[in-house]
Every structure is written in structure tokens, then in C-alpha cells.
């Protein structure tokens, strides 16, 4: 079945429909990782986005039960050059195509994905639509494409109620803006007891759980849409050690008087970052479209701890007035590099120090 991809600027790519039939509108972003399509599709940070894979052969190893980052695919659509319909991997339980169909995700294959990537690189992230409808007329959709925006996606991906995981170690309050499974696993691997709080709970409610530390999760969308969450973080700062990742990092910056901006085409894939204190570079897994601006932060209160080696954007901040540190990248993911998992250890250490200092 034929499908068409239409971009906001009128560009059209004609290909073949994959996944569910129909039409979808979304923000088109490209992902440069060569493996990990399943993890990306199910990453809440992709909420409302149509993901274009730069690697041409997608679906080779199918889809399995164990590699989801959330309960379902979060992306609105998918763009690949060539979809593999006969996957080969011992853990595969279904093909990517069947998986997309079963979750009503619309996709397109057989287009020049490199040409698309170059367009997005040059013009920046763009809205667009994929359609396999035979009566699809791009001009009728132009307004909907243009006006599309991802509004408060955190509300859609956060958990509905508090979830509790037992653990013998420190108690962590994990604020769920769209938390990835691997982050929960990283805490569990360190023995933590975890309370996952929905994004709409108050600071008091969180503190009532008497956590040893607070973790701000990753999540989708524009951090400036999250006024309530920023307010909550302001109230928590200084009271407990705080570790933020992704959206959590951006929200912490805003809560500390910082500012964020939308990147031209985001960071989605593997990126080199530098831990400035260690003077050491790491390859990290990333999936974000916004970044913290360094200049608005008060240098007496916050220092940039990590930077992106490609474009020098802020990748991590250490706060001086409160026991808070945050990073933009995913320190430990099942879909990506693992070397920066040391940050979880630092969080544990910070909780220990904080607890001891209070005891004295």
C-alpha cells in the first residue's frame, strides 16, 4: 500500500505504508542510533513525535517483551528506509510491523531517509504527516500540520497513581514525568526502595514519604509547559538530595532560575559528552529536543558539570547551594551506552552523605 510523508514546508516523500493504516500528524525528528528502535519507540520522550530512523535497515531483530522503555510505543509514527518483515533474533516475539499494527502506529518505508535527515538538519525539526489513505490530500491537512504541537505530554505519560517498589537500601522518590524502565532498574540494581509519584503530586505529598533522595525523571515536551512541576521542584530543593535526568534536568534548571531553548533538530542517538570535573569524555544515549542555556544560571549557585562535545550544549549541572545534580543524557539505559552509570552511584553516595550529615 502506498503511503506519503508530507512535511510542513510542503516537501513530499512517496513510499510504502507500514504499521497501521490511516493518517497521523506529528513532530518529525530523526534518531541516529543503529540499534535500539524498540527502545526509542517506547521512550516517553518521543510522545507525539514521528521518528525517522537514519539507519536504513530497521526491524531486523523484531520486537521482544523485555526491551520496552514504557508500556507501549509512545511515538506517533515511524519512518524507515527498509522494514524487515522476517526478523531474526532468539528473543523476538513478533515483527516490528505487527507490533506497530497492534498499537495503531502509522509508518512509512521506502523513502530516502538521508534526504529527509538532511532537510531536518538544515531547516530544523518540522511537523509533518504520514498517510496511507487513498483520498489523502496534503493541502487539506496543511493547517493541521502547521498548527500541530505537543501540549503537556507529561500529563499523558505519567503514571496515574503512586507505585511502590520494595528495596533494602535508600528510599527514592521518583517523580515520573515519563520515566523509562531502565532508570527504575538502575535504582533497583543499587538496592533502592522506590516510590514512583505521578507528575501532579505536591511537594508535601512527596516529602511525606520521607525519601532519602528525589529523582526527577526524563519525559517529553517543552519544559516550560511544566509550570506546576517546576514549582514542586522549587519546594523540594535543598530538602533532599536531587538527581535529575532529561526533562528532570531541564525542570531543575528552570526551578533554579535558569532558562531552556528548543534545539534546531535535537539530540537523538549516541553523543559524546565530557565530564568536566573528570576531564573525561563518554558516549551517552540521548533523546531530547530542548536544552538548558548556561548563561542564565547564577555561577555562584550552579556550575556546568558536563558538556556536549559536538555542539557544547549543557549536558549536566551541579548545584552549589543545594545537594542537587542533573544530567541531560541517559546515564544508564538498556538502549545505549552504560559507562555513565557512575552517576547513579554518585546519587547513592549523595543520599548517604546527606543522611549522615543530618544525623550528626
Amino acid at each position: 500500500m502506498k503511503a506519503v510523508l508530507v512535511l510542513d514546508d510542503g516537501t513530499q516523500f512517496v513510499g510504502e505504508a507500514i504499521g497501521a493504516a490511516g493518517t497521523c500528524v506529528g513532530e518529525i525528528v530523526f534518531y541516529t542510533g543503529m540499534t535500539g528502535y524498540q527502545e526509542v519507540l517506547t521512550d516517553t520522550s518521543c510522545k507525539g513525535q514521528i521518528i525517522a530512523m537514519t539507519y536504513p535497515l530497521i526491524g531486523n531483530y523484531g520486537v521482544n517483551e523485555g526491551d520496552n522503555e514504557s508500556g507501549r510505543p509512545q511515538a506517533k509514527g515511524i519512518i524507515v528506509r527498509e522494514l524487515c518483515r522476517e526478523p531474526s533474533n532468539w528473543r523476538s516475539t513478533m515483527s516490528l510491523d505487527d507490533y506497530l499494527k497492534s498499537h495503531h502506529i502509522i509508518g512509512i518505508q521506502g523513502i530516502d531517509t538521508r534526504a529527509l535527515t538532511r532537510k531536518l538538519r538544515d531547516k530544523g525539526t518540522m511537523n509533518g504527516a504520514i498517510s496511507s489513505d487513498s483520498d489523502f490530500r496534503p493541502e487539506e491537512w496543511r493547517e493541521r500540520i502547521k498548527s500541530y504541537s505537543i501540549i503537556k505530554p507529561v500529563d499523558e505519560v505519567t503514571s496515574r497513581e503512586v507505585v511502590h517498589y520494595e528495596g533494602g537500601g535508600y528510599r527514592v522518590a521518583l517523580l515520573d514525568y515519563g520515566v523509562r524502565t531502565d532508570m527504575v532498574q538502575a535504582l533497583q540494581n543499587r538496592g533502592c526502595e522506590i516510590y514512583i509519584f505521578p507528575a501532579n503530586v505536591t511537594a508535601d505529598r512527596i516529602l511525606d514519604a520521607d525519601p532519602d533522595g528525589i529523582m526527577l525523571s526524563n519525559g517529553p515536551g517543552d519544559p516550560k509547559d511544566c509550570g506546576f512541576q517546576i514549582q514542586v521542584i522549587k519546594e523540594l530543593l535543598g530538602k533532599k538530595p536531587v538527581f535529575g535526568i532529561g526533562l528532570g534536568h531541564q525542570l531543575a534548571a528552570l526551578a533554579n532560575g535558569g532558562d531552556t531553548e528548543k534545539l534546531k533538530y535535537g539530540h537523538r542517538g549516541g553523543y559524546p559528552i565530557k565530564d568536566l570535573a573528570q576531564d573525561k569524555t563518554y558516549i551517552t544515549s540521548q533523546n531530547h529536543g530542548y536544552a538548558v542555556l548556561p548563561d542564565k544560571l547564577d555561577p555562584k549557585k550552579a556550575v556546568v558539570s558536563h558538556i556536549n562535545m559536538n555542539d557544547n550544549t549543557v549536558e549536566g549541572i551541579r548545584y552549589l547551594d543545594t545537594p542537587t545534580f542533573t544530567v541531560q543524557f541517559y546515564p544508564q539505559t538498556s538502549s545505549g551506552a552504560l559507562e555513565t552509570a557512575y552517576l547513579f552511584d554518585e546519587f547513592v553516595t549523595l543520599m548517604a552523605e546527606f543522611k549522615n550529615s543530618r544525623r550528626l
Binding site: F30, T32, G33, M34, T35, G36, Q38, E39, T54, Y55, P56, L57, N60, Y61, N64, G66, D67, R81, E82, C84, E86, P87, S88, N89, W90, R91, D112, T113, R114, A115, T117, R118, R121, Y265, G269, G270, Y271, P272, K274, T281, I283, M309, N310, S334, S335, G336, A337, L338, E339
Partner: protein, 838 residues
């Protein structure tokens, strides 16, 4: 990178794909983390290579090996991703950090990143089995390939098909005559063979409808790859049902995306490749060129490194500069090695000096020519007429240089010239005249230059007839080949029968040559001609007499035993030939001196294997000069004059290097077909010392006085052995020989122990070898059933036991000369190559 062949086949002998195709991210990260842990624990600074075996149905994995250095795979990985591993490793070695080294591809980002590719790369090894037809083709843990090809595509099928045709095996698709005659049962059992033909056997099995599961259960090749092979086979079968008239645009485009050449499509739909090409034009189907940029287009790249795809958007935007395409030499193989890469690179330099933009087309990841910063623009593509023509159509260069890429490039001269492409240097007509027996004979006759008598033949009967008219021994060989491929000396009708059979195993486009074999001294010349004048940088003299391929012979510069008469004849003939063939650039001429008369053996109006050698030892940058002459310069624009260039006081001796210990069942005796896989150069003030340096460099392990030396030679060679044996005896070696030879030597008062031949019971030669009593063997191959078998066994045993085995008496005399000097390695003078720069 993922090996298509499961564990058990050396990674250098495996078909490799990059990036990994069948690993989930979890598996990928698991191995990646293990590699990082290994590197960190070992404290590696620079390159490191880790090889893993991953269980196909669990997360279990094992480390196969770790090479704490830049490896063969590093070159492949560098070309596959655009990340220059060795260059970065070197900068690390001198103290830079990854965060300080710029990524030369983007010019913006740094070396501390992991390249991400948006295409698929396939590497296929190039094995020497087409030359060593008797070698055991089984692949295992001992690497046998001499080279490799790499292809880039944005589908696996496209990349694989490109790689297959880059091998220059006459195979352009997965369908070959191989295995066609086997029934299904025999075919399935053939699947158990792990050899170089496995891909083609699998393709045939798929074609017969044998289930992929069954093929998988035998080969253990991942189903994903088998599925891809099936797609190609299905396309071949689909095309068979089409004709030029029924073929749709959709099918044609799909076939092109899968990497099918017009020629192949034409063959299946029973049409000419021109007609298929016309169809493509009509439907607007042409390749677009995509960039290799290390970052999947995320950042703007500055490196013009391209591969073809059948997409709509091409990223290669040709410049308006004056420009020339240099055709590369493809995979490294016996007879066409890295020498031609040297030539391609030097040609690029010459073009740059003349102000031209230089464009390289090549498919070999091991070369300097395919470094993205060697040429101004690099197309990593197969070297077939279609692939090259498409690039020419896009780039619209001033012309093409085909002289420096060995036969790979020369073969393209005619098809390109037919398309109206300007070939710089010697014209296609003249290239043809040098290869075409009749045309060449006419030229020689007109110039009164003698050559050994010979005939051009096509069939076995004609070959027999020719051989008998010339009288045995005769030299039999296909035309248009390098490295004497398929070349043999025939002593009888039976030999002719056997050789013709082997030659005809491959489809022959060109006639076969049968020449009278003259056993004399061989000489070789590389010359530069600007159309008016000729410069001969030097004459090379082969130590081994005619009959041993020039590439396998020890070769000396300057010549050590040439009379004034012969030297003058060589200069005269070379000048006449270069002018008669209208050579613009480089020409190689091989001579044999027989009864004090020079005969021409062959003329190659192109750069030869010896050009780097002679350039180095004369200090004349031949390729750069030749390139600049092709662009219009004259010899008079250079300071080297014309005629034979003055020779210096140093002697350079080239010694071939062989790989027999890696190739089972290959006869190590030297003959007219080249067998060496490399060479070294020894330089000294006299020929013996230069030879010694060369032999040491080539890995010769000399016996010590007191050690045993075994002589087993042809009857006709016996008289030549006396001085040799005498010399070794005087040096204190213990001599052994078989019956008749021992008797002969003893009669000449050289004390020799008689040993039994293999069929004469124990203890025989082999027993002595195994007991370590024999440390060197001088063996000239004898004809005849038993002795052939004996000789072969002795030589193979020598390889196994690392016993030096010389099959040329000339080399044996040279070894004696070296040993007589009684010089230790530490007493050899160190010579700077600059001594040749005058």
C-alpha cells in the same frame, strides 16, 4: 561489525557486514561494554581490536581475541565508517586526547564520538584459489585470503552484489554454473563444505527451493542473511520471467536497488545491456551518490567520500574544475598487489601538482587510495564499466587514467573508450595492440625486434597443434592477465591437455597464447615516454632464469651481468616499442636473453608491479612524472634526461615473499605462474650483501655450518649442482642427496650421503626431515608421476617443518654467495633510501 560466517572461519576469511544486523541493542551494548572494559583494564591508548563470539540463542558470549593495536579490521572499520582509526591512534600516541582531535570528516566535531552510519557495508575476502587451483579451499582458523573488497549500499542486497562483482571473478550475480550439475542431495551435502564458494552454493540451494531452515541448520548462518540471499535469488528468478517489453519500471528500479548490473538484467531478460541502459534512461533510473560522513547526515560533512544508491537525491555535486578520474586496482591478489595502489596514489599527487582535481574510484578498504583525504573526491565503488561510466556521466571529467590500476583498470580502457571517454596516456588502440598477438607481431616485425615464436589459439586442438609446431617446451597462458595467471610450461601433450582444462574453467573472453619457451636470462624495464622521447630509469635483471615468473624471481638493480651489446639492444628496443605503441606515460617491457640475443617477451603499456621498486631505487618519481606527462608535460620539463638513466653505486635486490605455510596443497615449486604474495628490498654496496638483506627481510632462515642440506634435482640440472654442492661443502655443511645425485656428486669428489627416496622405504628423505637432520633443500621439480608426487610431498613437508626449500638453482647460488660472505646481521650496513636521490 558482524561476521556472516559463524565462529570457526577466520575473521579475515569471513564475509563481514557493518554495522551489526542481527543484534538487539541489548546484545550490542553488552559486547560494547565488554570491549570498553577490556580496553580500560588493559590500559589501551590508541587502537584496540576485540573479537567476540556471541551465542545465537542466549546472552552468553566469549572473547575470541584482543589485539591491543590497530588491526586488519581497523582498516576496514575506518573505511566503513569514515573514522580514521590509525590516524587518531597516532595522534593519541603523541599525547593528544580524543576531545582535542578534530573529526576531519565534519571538520566541526571531535574524534571522541562513535560513528553512526546510515548505510550497509559488506566486505568479501579475495582468495587466491583462482590461481592455486589445487589448494585446499576449506576455510578455517588459518586465514587464506590475500585481500578483500568492500562495498557500500543502502540495502544489504545492494552492498553484497557490489562486493561480489568487485572480486573480479567473472561473477556478477549469485547465479553461476557452479553446482548446477549436482542433484539436490549432493547440493545439500555440499552445503557442509565451508569454503570460498559457500555463498554461491547457498544461493543455488535457495534456488532449488531447499528450505532456509535446512540451510541454516547446516551452515548456522543467521536466517536474516539467508533471507537476504533469498531476495537476490528471487529477483534473479523474477527477471528470468521478464522480457525487455514486459519489464516494468518498478521491477527494474527494484533490481537496480538490489545491485543488479544492466548487463546481468540484460542476460536474464535476454536483451543487451545497452537496451537495459536505454530503458533506464527512458524511465529516469540512475544512481545517486550518497556521502560517507561518520554521522548519518546529522552534521554537515566536508569530506567528499561517496557511494552509489538508487535514491532520488544525490549528494555529490561535481565541481567545475578541470579534473581527472584515476581508476584504482581493486582487491589485493597475487600478481596485483599493493604496488598499484602506490601508483594510484602517486598519480593523484601528480594530478594535483598539475592543478587538476583528482577523483579516485576503487573498492579496496586496505589501500591508501581509498583514504578520503588522498584524492579530492573518492567514489567507493566497484570497478566495472557500468559503475565507472555512471560516475563519469555525473562528474564529466576531462578524462580517465587507467594506466595505474593494474589489469583491473586496463580492462576498462576499451569499454570506456567505446563510450567516448577520453583515456589519458596510451590510447585504447595501442593497449590492444600490445595484448593482441597478431597486431603486436606486426609491430615487432616492422621494428625488426625478435620475440620467441608463438601462436594465438582458442581450442584444445589448436593448442596441441601449436605446441607441436613450436616443439616442446612451450609456454601456455591466457592473454589479458596479470601475474601469469594460468600460465604454465608444457613439456608434453598431456600437460597441454591438463592446462587447457584449467584455463577453460573460467570463461575466456580473450584468446590463449602458446609460445616457444626459451630458458635464458630475463630482464625487465619500466620506461616513461612522452610520445617523442623515452626515459629508462633502470634495467632490472632477474636472478632466476626465464621460466620463473618475474614476480617470483629475485631481481637486481642495476643489472650485474649485462654485456654492452645487450644493454644497447634493450635501450634500442624499449625506445622503439614505446614510440611504436604511442606510449604516453609508463610502459613495461620484459626481455629474455638467449644465445646472446635479446628477445621481447611482452610489453605492458601501463604501470607495472616493479614501478614502485624502480622509482625508489633510482629516485625518479615515475608515476608522478608519467601522470604529468599525460597532462601535457614533456620529459624535457624534468631533470632526468632521456635514454637510460645513470646508475648509482648501490645495488638493490628485490626478494619475493611467499605464504605457502597458509595455503595447503599448493606446490611451492616456482614456475611461470606467480605465487608470491609480497616482496622486500635489500640495499647495499654489493650484490651479495643486498641479496642477504633481501633474503633476511623475506624471512629466510639460513642453515648453520654442520647442518644438513639435501639435493634432489632433475637429471638435466645435475652438472649445475657441482659447484653449488662444492661451495656448501667447503662452508662445512653436511650434504645429502638421492641415489643418482649422490652418486654423481661423490664421483666429483664431493662427499655426499645417499638418502632413500620416498618409495624406497625407511629411513627416507621425509624421515630425515622429521628428525631435523635437514635444514635446507635444493630441489628442482622433475616431471613424471612418482617424482612429481615425491617432490610435492618433500616441498610440502619442508613448509610444514619450516625448512628452507629452494626450487631455483639460481637462488641457491645466490644463497651460497650470501653465506660465503660470512656476515652477521649486526654487521650489515644501514643504508638510507636517500642514497638513490641524485
Amino acid at each position: 561489525m558482524e561476521n556472516i560466517d559463524p565462529v570457526g572461519v577466520h575473521t579475515g576469511d569471513s564475509i563481514v557486514v557493518a554495522p551489526t544486523q542481527t543484534l538487539t541493542d541489548k546484545e550490542h551494548q553488552m559486547l560494547r561494554s565488554a570491549a570498553l572494559n577490556i580496553i580500560t583494564t588493559l590500559g589501551i591508548e590508541g587502537g584496540c581490536n576485540c573479537q567476540f563470539a556471541l551465542h545465537p540463542t542466549s546472552f552468553e558470549y566469549a572473547v575470541i581475541e584482543v589485539n591491543p593495536r590497530v588491526s586488519r579490521s581497523s582498516a576496514l572499520a575506518s573505511k566503513a565508517t569514515g573514522y580514521p582509526i590509525a590516524k587518531v591512534a597516532t595522534k593519541i600516541a603523541v599525547g593528544y586526547g580524543l576531545d582535542e582531535i578534530k573529526n576531519a570528516v565534519t571538520g566541526k566535531t571531535y574524534a571522541c564520538f562513535e560513528p553512526t552510519v546510515d548505510y550497509c557495508v559488506v566486505k568479501i575476502p579475495k582468495w587466491p584459489f583462482d590461481k592455486f587451483v589445487r589448494a585446499r579451499r576449506t576455510l578455517g582458523t588459518q586465514m587464506k585470503a590475500t585481500g578483500e573488497v568492500m562495498a557500500i549500499g543502502n540495502s544489504f542486497e545492494g552492498a553484497l552484489m557490489k562486493a561480489v562483482r568487485s572480486l573480479e571473478l567473472g561473477i556478477k550475480t549469485l547465479e553461476t554454473p557452479l553446482c548446477k550439475e549436482l542433484d539436490d542431495t549432493a547440493l545439500v551435502s555440499r552445503l557442509h563444505n565451508i569454503d570460498d564458494n559457500r555463498l554461491l552454493v547457498i544461493a543455488e540451494a535457495i534456488r532449488r527451493g531447499i528450505a532456509l531452515e535446512e540451510i541454516h541448520s547446516i551452515t548456522m548462518i543467521d536466517m536474516w542473511f539467508l533471507g537476504k540471499f533469498k531476495n537476490i535469488v528471487a529477483m534473479e528468478e523474477l527477471l528470468k520471467t521478464e522480457t525487455l517489453h514486459t519489464l516494468t519500471r518498478e521491477t527494474l528500479l527494484k533490481a537496480k536497488k538490489m545491485g543488479f548490473l544492466d548487463e546481468v538484467i540484460g542476460k536474464y531478460i535476454k536483451a543487451g545491456k545497452k537496451q537495459v541502459r536505454e530503458k533506464r534512461r527512458q524511465w529516469g533510473i540512475k544512481p545517486s551518490y550518497k556521502m560517507v560522513d561518520t554521522c548519518a547526515a546529522e552534521f554537515e560533512a566536508q569530506t567528499p567520500y561517496y557511494y552509489s544508491s538508487y535514491d532520488e537525491y544525490s549528494e555529490s555535486v561535481p565541481t567545475k574544475h578541470k579534473k581527472v578520474i584515476v581508476l584504482g586496482s581493486g582487491p589485493i591478489r597475487i600478481g596485483q598487489g599493493i604496488e598499484f595502489d602506490y601508483c594510484s596514489v602517486h598519480s593523484v599527487w601528480g594530478l594535483k601538482e598539475e592543478g587538476y582535481e583528482a577523483i579516485i574510484i576503487n573498492n579496496n578498504p586496505e589501500t591508501v587510495s581509498t583514504d578520503f583525504d588522498t584524492s579530492d573526491r573518492l567514489y567507493f565503488e566497484p570497478l566495472t564499466p557500468e559503475d565507472v561510466e555512471e560516475i563519469i556521466e555525473l562528474e564529466q571529467p576531462d578524462g580517465v587514467i587507467a594506466q595505474f590500476g593494474g589489469q583491473t583498470a586496463i580492462k576498462l580502457t576499451n569499454p570506456l573508450a567505446d563510450q567516448g571517454v577520453k583515456i589519458f596516456g596510451t590510447g585504447a588502440k595501442d593497449v590492444d595492440a600490445a595484448e593482441d598477438r597478431e597486431k603486436f607481431d606486426e609491430i615487432l616485425e616492422a621494428l625488426s625486434i625478435p620475440r620467441p615464436k608463438g601462436y594465438t589459439i582458442f581450442t584444445f586442438e589448436e593448442a596441441l597443434n601449436a605446441a607441436n609446431r613450436l616443439g616442446y617446451p612451450v609456454l601456455v597462458r591466457p592473454s589479458y592477465v596479470l601475474g601469469g595467471k594460468g600460465m604454465e610450461i608444457a613439456y608434453s601433450d598431456k600437460d597441454i591437455e591438463e592446462f587447457m582444462e584449467i584455463i577453460n574453467m573460467e570463461e575466456q573472453e580473450h584468446p590463449i597464447l602458446v609460445d616457444k619457451y626459451m630458458m635464458g636470462k630475463e630482464l625487465e624495464v619500466d620506461a616513461i615516454c612522452d610520445g617523442e622521447n623515452v626515459l629508462i630509469p633502470g634495467i632490472m635483471e632477474h636472478l632466476d632464469r626465464a621460466g620463473i615468473h618475474s614476480g617470483d624471481s629475485i631481481s637486481m638493480y642495476p643489472p650485474q651481468s649485462l654485456s654492452f651489446k645487450i644493454k644497447s639492444q634493450i635501450i634500442d628496443y624499449t625506445e622503439k616499442l614505446a614510440k611504436a605503441l604511442h606510449v604516453i606515460g609508463v610502459v613495461n617491457v620484459q626481455y629474455v636473453v638467449f644465445n646472446d640475443q635479446t628477445y621481447v617477451i611482452e610489453v605492458n603499456p601501463r604501470s607495472s608491479r616493479t614501478v614502485p621498486y624502480i622509482s625508489k631505487v633510482t629516485g625518479i618519481p615515475m608515476v608522478k612524472m608519467a601522470t604529468r606527462i599525460m597532462m601535457g608535460k614533456k620529459l624535457s620539463d624534468f631533470p632526468y634526461g632521456t635514454g637510460l638513466y645513470n646508475q648509482g653505486e648501490y645495488v638493490a635486490v628485490k626478494v619475493p615473499v611467499f605464504s605457502f605455510e597458509k595455503l595447503h596443497n599448493v606446490d611451492t615449486s616456482l614456475g611461470p605462474e606467480m605465487k608470491s604474495t609480497g616482496e622486500v628490498l635489500g640495499i647495499a654496496k654489493n650484490v651479495h650483501e643486498a641479496t642477504l638483506k633481501g633474503l633476511i627481510g623475506a624471512g629466510f632462515k639460513f642453515p648453520e655450518p654442520g647442518d644438513g642440506i639435501l639435493f634432489t634435482v632433475r637429471d638435466t640440472d645435475k652438472h649445475e649442482v657441482i659447484d653449488l654442492a662444492d661451495g656448501f661443502e667447503r662452508l662445512g655443511y653436511k650434504l645429502y642427496a638421492t641415489g643418482k645425485t649422490a652418486l654423481y656428486l661423490n664421483q666429483h669428489a664431493i662427499a655426499t650421503n645417499a638418502v632413500r627416496k620416498l618409495h624406497e622405504g625407511s629411513p627416507n628423505i621425509i624421515d630425515l626431515m622429521e628428525q631435523g637432520k635437514i635444514k635446507m633443500i635444493i630441489n628442482t621439480p622433475t616431471k613424471g608421476r612418482d617424482s612429481e608426487r615425491d617432490g610435492f610431498q618433500i616441498r610440502r613437508k619442508a613448509v610444514e617443518r619450516s625448512i628452507l626449500c629452494l626450487t631455483s638453482l639460481d637462488t641457491a647460488y645466490a644463497v651460497l654467495g650470501c653465506l660465503q660472505m660470512n656476515k652477521k646481521v649486526e654487521n650489515l650496513d644501514i643504508v638510507n633510501l636517500d642514497v638513490f636521490k641524485k
